[in-house]
Symmetry: none
Subunit: 244 residues, 2 copies
DNA sequence: TTGACGTGGTATTGAAGTGGTATTAATTTT
DNA sequence: AAAATTAATACCACTTCAATACCACGTCAA
């Protein structure tokens, strides 16, 4: 057995099923570049033997990787790393950048900039300790003078030396403070405008809005930004290009 | 026993019944995010053991949470936080594919399958000649028996030799007909449910929904699919990972 | 061309763990 | 005293996980 496979050895006693353990470890190995693109992975049978598991278990792990598009199977021939064509990820841009790119004049109006203790949700999503402090930044977002969105950002106080210094772009400020957001997870949902939101956005109560929740991560993969953006549906429109 | 469960310990001497105490504490824990969506709660038996109560008591507590829609039970499998359907915004997948990958049982109910002439909007978006014919496919989309979305697809009649043959997955059918969708442009907006949509989806009129409009292109970059999906916001959740 | 061998694909099985339910006993309420 | 609530026990049905055995496709050397 190839000595490097020792890193794949599974924990029989753990609560997580073997096939899941294996899938995770294999995914890591692939991302770490253990095999070249288009190179054959070890065959299912050699995996079983090396790890002392059954083929079904090995296959189930590979099924997951197949689902994630990491590998490609060829019946009678082998299992191969899927060559990476391109980055399927869209680009991370703040509100200001998006609007500027579209030729609008972006503006921000501050509604509040408070320092406080985080809610449970914020603690979990940002991975904070319960006694950490956070800033909550609440802004109106305008394009060519029209309110387009209400934005509420929560950031660990440690990332914001001086919140008064933030101009139009939070990301630009975070860059200068040495806490750049490199990656983000974004959830898009629909909500009915609450009275508060409706008043701020200048729309009727109950009107449908897009609620975009974004968790931003720095280079070390720490969550450093939690932003909810409530977008007026008549002005905002999320576009994505999808590839198969 | 997991140490964090200490917060769930019950008071035998109190006047409120055990199952009520437990239900309240569990609801708090769920709302505080102790478990992720889609994650399994501790099994009924482990709860009993940890809290020194009988299974009936534990079940009665869970019954309450079930009533509130906080949890979902799967016979033989476990009790889970009621999941939101997360649709990735980066990969092009049909409704059925997403659901199957998440372990749901996808179903379609046909509302209509008409052949007709395209509207101006359809002519423009699909790049048709004005006298071309199109099919309009209107479906209810269900997951595990619950209506999750209403979908209206418009396709050039030339792409669909026999629309009656379409099973659950439009994309699988298009593949077999030699008109695979390779790339798509997707717009996401929020709308208020019209009376029609509300009736079909089983939600109140005016409720916020996500409207996803997708134009699918084949390998030769011809638009061959125009699909509007109206998604119930309480079950649907679009996710994207962004990179800078 | 052919057949042996190695590859992935699939059907069947069983043990263990999960929620579901009927029955019963003790307690509280009426 | 009767009825409803609370809680315990025992047993049933379904899923998941992992194992075995066998099937089908590709490759390559004889």
């Amino acid at each position: 057995m190839d000595s490097r496979w020792t890193a794949l050895l599974l924990d029989e006693t753990a609560n997580t099923p073997l096939y899941l353990q294996l899938a995770r470890k294999l995914a890591e190995a692939i991302n770490a570049g253990w095999w070249q693109a288009d190179e054959a992975l070890p065959s299912e049978r050699s995996l079983c033997e090396a790890l002392a598991i059954s083929r079904v278990t090995a296959r189930k792990a590979l099924d997951i990787l197949l689902d994630q598009g990491l590998i490609t199977r060829r019946h009678g021939s082998g299992t191969f790393i899927t060559p990476k064509l391109e980055q399927p990820l869209s680009h991370l841009k703040g509100f200001s950048e998006v609007l500027k790119a579209k030729g609008f004049k972006p503006e921000s109006q501050w509604l509040s900039r408070d320092r406080g203790i985080p809610s449970t949700e914020e603690i979990i999503k940002l991975g904070l300790s319960p006694n950490a402090e956070v800033y909550r930044l609440k802004r109106k977002r305008l394009a060519d003078g029209v309110v387009m969105a209400i934005e509420i950002s929560t950031l660990p106080a440690s990332c914001l030396p001086d919140p008064q210094q933030i101009g139009g772009s939070l990301y630009a400020y975070l860059d200068s403070a040495g806490h750049s957001v490199v990656r983000a997870l974004q959830h898009v949902r629909a909500i009915n405008a609450t009275p508060d939101l409706a008043a701020l956005a200048g729309i009727p109560v109950g009107e449908a809005m897009l609620r975009v929740t974004r968790i931003g991560f720095d280079a070390a993969n720490n969550a450093i930004e939690l932003t909810d953006t409530y977008c007026r549906n008549d002005y905002y429109d999320f576009v994505a290009e999808l590839k198969r």
